[in-house]
């Protein structure tokens, strides 16, 4: 039945599920159950995709193409490669966990909530696999509506402000991207991504087009001065919304930068690349410093996202295989660890209806298991070797250090590295204030520890965090061909200071990662 349309099934199954829920899910139990069923089935389907994926091939795989509009110039074209594949997996992996996490927390208008979650999942998956620019844009914009509804309906006190701000910020960026896409469309004569790639545009045009694309992606990431929607959206969103937002949605920005902006307009990188790098380093440090002083745990995690995604952008614009691989890896790692952090914050919020650090203290006495899980995730987030956070950051810093594109690359790498230190500082400090010391509040004494349902959605993530940390090589090996394929033409075309941009040929990424995965072997 699945045949050659396996990817379409992965993308559209949640959509079908959403419609089914809207039609039948008058009772909350039915809506939840159906949503869970669909999400699990979708994950299973994406595992089939993984199984069929040929890791040695860097090109698009499982391609599906059908004429859509304009006599086939605009087509329904989807595919996965080493870059898309793992983001798709991340999305489908988080899907059921998110639904499980809001099993109790969302009791009002359950049917709509489940439908929106599944719609959002379909749109996100579509964005990752689209290989036609219009299709990509349609999926990209379609993410907006369900996400702002989730924030706006089930969110906190200032939810409407946050939802509207999220919508407008994202819209500002993407609408200029539409003009850029249109411009390229008439130059290329087709909306196919491959035809866009083949375009030979003059440098001046590339600058403008890159700016239009990069604005859209930088807002989504969010890159430093454009990040202000993020804390609002995260704080006001319900747990489920935060998890998806941090886990997947933010990756849209970095994915877009990597997939579209850089390969399509490589010449613009010599102008904009250093600026993006500087902004991302500012974002890394700024995000960490602001996180340091947050009284609210959720806001702290939100700002930590700004910091972590700064790493991803930095690695991406370093234009080194290590940097880009690290960027992708960091996207996955951040998706898991920050997703888990938001879930954990949700767990305590459900019990106490507060997220302020000062309302806690000594929680380790009341909820020892919860405290251990939180510790595990915190360590993953700060990049303890052996857990997922380390691999990405290490590769990014290595890549940045060796980048030929960025001026003062070593300085940038050193500055970014201070972000790692600061990250450990704010996370562990927060952990200390929340979990250690005496139980200061009577209310916290009787808190129940993790329930089986909570274990059910936390455990898979914990396993994932550990697995990514210990065995990153299988992932990195599958990414490598795709990254080389993407990077090759870009670096060939670029010249820095009149000399062709030569990247020092590193060891195979898999070996690098194998080395770093065992902390003892790193010198």
């Amino acid at each position: 039945m699945l045949g050659s349309h396996i990817l379409s099934w992965v993308v559209f199954l949640p959509l079908v599920g959403a419609v089914a829920i809207l039609l039948t899910g008058r009772r909350a139990v039915v809506a939840r159950g159906l949503a869970m069923l669909v999400a699990v089935a979708d994950f299973a389907l994406s595992l089939v995709v993984l199984a069929r994926f040929d890791g040695a091939d860097g090109g698009d795989q499982l391609v599906e193409r059908a004429a859509w509009l304009a006599g086939g110039k605009i087509s329904y074209a989807i595919a996965v490669d080493g870059i898309s594949l793992f983001l798709v997996l991340l999305t489908t992996f988080l899907g059921p966990l998110v639904i499980l996490s809001c099993w109790r927390a969302i009791a009002d208008r359950v049917r709509e909530c489940m439908a929106f979650l599944l719609l959002l999942q379909a749109a996100m998956l579509g964005t990752f696999v689209a290989r036609d620019m219009l299709l990509f844009y349609v999926f990209w914009e379609s993410m907006l509506i369900p996400m702002s509804f989730i924030i706006g309906i089930w969110g906190g006190e200032r939810r409407i402000y946050a939802a509207v701000k999220f919508f407008l910020f994202t819209m500002v960026g993407s609408i200029f991207m539409l003009v850029a896409i249109l411009y390229c469309y008439f130059q290329a004569g087709s909306m196919a991504f491959s035809d866009f790639l083949a375009l030979q545009l003059p440098r001046a045009a590339q600058l403008w087009l890159f700016a239009a694309f990069a604005l859209a992606f930088a807002i989504k990431v969010p890159l430093f001065p454009l990040h202000t929607w993020l804390p609002d959206a995260h704080v006001e969103a319900p747990t489920a919304g935060s998890v998806i937002l941090a886990g997947v949605l933010l990756k849209m920005g970095t994915y877009g930068l990597l997939r579209f902006a850089i390969p399509l307009f490589p010449q613009a990188l010599t102008t904009f690349g250093p600026w993006l790098a500087v902004l991302s380093v500012i974002g890394i440090i700024y995000g960490a410093l602001v996180a340091l002083v947050q009284p609210d745990v959720k806001k702290l995690v939100a700002y930590s996202s700004v910091s972590h995604l700064g790493f991803v952008v930095l690695g991406t614009v370093s234009l080194t295989p290590e940097g880009i691989a690290g960027g992708i890896f960091q996207m996955l790692a951040h998706g898991l660890s920050t997703g888990a952090l938001f879930l954990l914050v949700g767990v305590i919020y459900e019990r106490r209806h507060t997220r302020l650090i000062e309302d806690f203290g000594g929680l380790a006495h009341a909820m020892p298991l919860y405290a251990s899980v939180f510790m595990f995730v915190t360590l993953a987030s700060v990049g303890l070797p052996g857990l997922c956070g380390f691999v990405g950051e290490f590769l990014i810093l290595t890549g940045t250090f060796r980048s030929a594109l960025l001026p003062h690359a070593r300085l940038l790498a050193v500055l970014a590295a201070t972000g790692v230190v600061l990250g450990a500082f704010y996370m562990l400090w927060m952990y200390q204030r929340v979990f250690f010391g005496p139980l200061r509040h009577e209310k916290n004494r009787g808190l129940a520890d993790l329930t089986p349902r909570e274990w059910a959605y936390l455990l898979p993530i914990l396993v994932g965090i550990l697995w990514l940390g210990v065995r990153p090589a299988p992932l990195l090996e599958r990414m490598q061909p795709a990254i080389e394929r993407l990077l090759g033409p870009v670096t060939r075309e670029l010249t820095v200071d009149r000399a062709p941009l030569q990247q020092a040929g590193g060891a195979r990424l898999g070996t690098v990662a194998l080395q770093v995965s065992d902390p003892l072997e790193v010198e």
Binding site: W68, L69, A70, R109, E112, L134, Y137, V138, E141, S142, L144, I145, F149, G152, I153, R159, I160, A163, V164, F167, L168, M171, V172, I175, F176, L178, V179, L182, Y183, Y185, F186
Partner: protein, 500 residues
């Protein structure tokens, strides 16, 4: 010389049948309205539906449209005419359906509504088909006179009377401009047929002053009907004062008819319009989009908001027309022309769907709500009370904002695409900036519906016909958002029939 050749008239009878059905039906409705007792006037709705469906059938199953002109060059009989006639008849059908749900509860709205609706539709059909200045004027006046009355036709409502009078006075002014302009053009070309003007342009040389002045004055009249800044001043008051279903009819039908006539006229007088008046039109289009969207931000009433939004959409549509006109200057006519014309045609259908849907919902909720019916705050909590209706309105508004996957996005995509293709990237950027502004006020209504709790108890109207119709429109909008290809091809092919 005999006035009319018999044989040709018989041959044209099939093509003229839709007009005859609508005209005859209008007279019939007038009589039925006058002769039936007040209590039994619900039959009028059925009769109206029968007339409109009859005309639809006559248009659909009649003889295949040809390039030949009807009535000795007075009307065009191409697919272009058919396309618009189907659109107008569909709009009228939906408007009648919305109206009847209101009449069941509030009889004061009913003042010869159905015959006027049918006559206005006839005017639109003639306007879109006109290939002669005389029929152009005839169609415009038939449509406008009926709409003037429809606007003012709520007994005892001061606001409606004010709106009707305002529209009548300013409309008469616009008609005068049109007549004067037509006079000048006629004086220049020596004939009233579009073909005469085209002949004159082909042999053009010497003094074009008269033609340019005439075209300019005619453009003023068109700009009034489609509500382009600075000829838009009547729009908010009139849209606000009229009954909601009439507003919906005006926003879609009248605008589409005026654009249909304008496009046909542009296609004809391309070189001159494209050359001399183009810069001014471009400035007006940009000003229209920006001003209308900015003012719409500040509106508290949903109808006023939609009125300004319709002005803004006239601006987007003008972008398509500008792209078409630009082709005359740059010799792009073969490729860009049909694309831009087709984009405008597509846009008009998409725009009609979403506006009718929005006004349908407003109509549906309106009559039991009293004076404050149209405040946006009154929509708080609608998603909880009537989820399906709220969802329909949300789809319509998202489509108006141009967010995929809706018909509105595809419409904007095609229009902006045509603009970029014509090499007018700055215009496209202005359009994009304008639609960015618009997102906020459309979103506001959705936010109120979905995210705010209902304040005081509001008595929403309920009517299954309207709910069904708006739901259907919402589905259509989504369908066109995903599979716009069919309609787009149809629109482009249709426009090509005109271009020949």
């Amino acid at each position: 010389m005999p006035a009319v050749a018999d044989a040709s008239l018989t041959a044209q009878f099939g093509a003229l049948l839709p007009y005859l059905v609508v005209a005859g039906g209008g007279v019939l409705l007038l009589l039925a309205d006058a002769l039936s007792r007040a209590s039994r006037r619900d039959h009028l709705y059925l009769l109206t539906v029968a007339v409109l469906l009859g005309a639809l059938a006559a248009q659909l199953f009649g003889p295949a449209p040809e390039r030949t002109a009807l009535l000795r060059g007075m009307l065009g009989g191409e697919a272009y005419t058919q396309y618009f006639n189907l659109l107008f008849l569909g709009i009228a059908l939906l408007t009648a359906t919305f109206a009847t749900s209101v009449f069941e509860r509030a009889a004061r709205y009913r003042t010869d509504f159905y015959p006027l609706l049918v006559f206005a539709t006839l005017g639109m059909m003639i306007l879109a088909a006109a290939t002669d200045l005389l029929t152009l004027f005839l169609g415009l006046e038939t449509m406008s006179l009926a709409v003037y009355v429809l606007v003012g036709g709520q007994r005892g409502s001061l606001r409606a009377s004010e709106a009707g009078l305002k529209y009548l006075l300013l409309g008469a002014f616009a008609s005068a401009f049109l007549l004067f302009g037509m006079g000048l053009v006629y004086g220049w070309a020596g004939g009233t047929g579009y073909a005469d003007i085209a002949d004159g342009l082909r042999g053009a040389g010497g003094n074009l002053l008269l033609l340019r002045a005439g075209l300019g004055l005619m453009l003023v009249a068109f700009a009034f009907k489609i509500a382009i800044v600075p000829f838009h001043m009547w729009t908010p008051d009139v849209y606000d004062g009229a009954a909601s279903f009439v507003t919906g009819y005006m926003a879609t039908g009248v605008k589409a008819a005026a654009f249909a006539a304008l496009l046909r006229f542009c296609q004809l007088a391309l070189p001159e319009l494209g050359g001399f008046w183009w810069p001014l039109l471009a400035v007006l289009a940009v000003v229209t989009m920006i001003v209308a969207n900015l003012v719409a931000l500040a509106q508290d009433g949903i109808k006023r908001m939609l009125a300004w939004s319709s002005v803004a959409h006239a601006g987007y549509l003008m972008l398509g027309v500008l792209a078409l006109l630009a082709t005359g200057r740059q010799g792009l006519a073969a490729t860009v022309g049909p694309a831009s014309g087709g984009a405008v045609l597509f846009y008009l259908v998409a725009y009609s769907l979403m506006n009718l849907g929005a006004f349908g919902v407003i109509t549906l909720l309106g009559p039991d709500r009293g004076e404050e019916a149209d405040r946006i705050s009154g929509y708080a909590g609608l998603a909880r009370r009537q989820p399906l209706v709220a969802a329909s309105l949300a789809v319509c508004l998202l489509s108006l904002a141009g967010i995929p996957p809706t018909a509105g996005f595809m419409a904007k995509f095609y229009v902006f695409g045509a603009v970029v293709k014509a090499g007018l990237v700055p215009l496209a950027i202005w359009g994009v900036v304008a639609s960015l502004i618009s997102v906020y006020y459309y979103l506001r209504v959705i936010v109120v519906m979905y995210m705010q709790p209902a304040g005081e108890s509001i008595h929403d109207g309920r009517s299954w016909e309207t709910a069904f119709a708006t739901g259907l429109l919402a589905l259509l909008i989504l369908f066109l958002g995903v599979w716009p290809g069919g309609l787009q091809r149809l629109a482009e092919v249709t426009f090509r029939t005109l271009a020949g």
